[in-house]
Symmetry: C2
Subunit: 196 residues, 2 copies
Amino acid sequence: MTALENLIQTLSRLPGIGVKSASRLAYHLIKTEKSYNQNLAQAIATIQERVFPCSECGSFTETDPCPVCGDPSRDRSQLCVVEQPQDVVTLQSSGAYNGLYHVLGGAISPLDGIGPEHLSFAKLIKRIEKGSFSELIIATNPTEEGDTTALYIRHILKEHPELSITRLASGLPIGGDLEYADRITLARSMRGRVRF
Amino acid sequence: MTALENLIQTLSRLPGIGVKSASRLAYHLIKTEKSYNQNLAQAIATIQERVFPCSECGSFTETDPCPVCGDPSRDRSQLCVVEQPQDVVTLQSSGAYNGLYHVLGGAISPLDGIGPEHLSFAKLIKRIEKGSFSELIIATNPTEEGDTTALYIRHILKEHPELSITRLASGLPIGGDLEYADRITLARSMRGRVRF
């Protein structure tokens, strides 16, 4: 295999990059400034040494605890449970939440062989027993796996009636169009309609 | 800037990769096997040392001359002129051509400041004078820049009447649908209709 074929094949193993895109990227890398390639190679080679899961919430961080867990100004009575580390970044960028996070590491998905034992539920319970949370916000994805995971969380927390359990609202995305909404989203937004 | 932000920003400078895709790729790279990242980093860091333009045709190669120019079984009476090195790979994969190639390095585009002096026309003339070509196939893109470049090639070769100059056919893409064809393609395929 030539160096070019090897680069294309390696790039095409990245998610969302097919052989055509990989080939386009490879030709770009041949022609771009050498310093860019060196910087990119260095960034890829060292990312796993620099970034690791926060020992408290499980989101990716370069300091332990992560900046969110270590921030004294955050509301320590709210805990938001998400599937993936990147969900923390997404929710943070919304600016609508000032509490703490808990990253499960995925969602329950029997078809993919992911059961509760693969996710950080034990740690979640421990954090709730040690902490002083009054609200737990479930922010798993609005998918079958996310729904199953949400139900499971409610189930394992039934011995904590002091905790108010909520879930992110489902409905029409802002800026969306009724015409393009799928039936399930439409049905959910109708059932979950709010007083105006 | 954190290592993660740096990786996302560096990835997002690649063509066709926006900040969202870059972020998705970065999170994938944090979680994937370490050996994959090392291989990818190595492939990116060394690609420019391994791959260079062929001294004859200008396509990217790892040996000089490139496998096509060095292949004694190819027809040395045909020369196909393309814009970019990757166009050689694309045409080779069609299996419809067994002659030699000439890579211009782009197309004439006054708006982008690319004039004939930036492309390898001088070398093209030299090759034609030294070689024994009987046909020159213009395979520039069917765009305004490609059309301009094709006209320019015909102009500079008017002192070579021994050379039959042809151009790739334009028309409806195979597997396409009349309904989805754009007006210009449709007009070209009508004007260029062939006896059936």
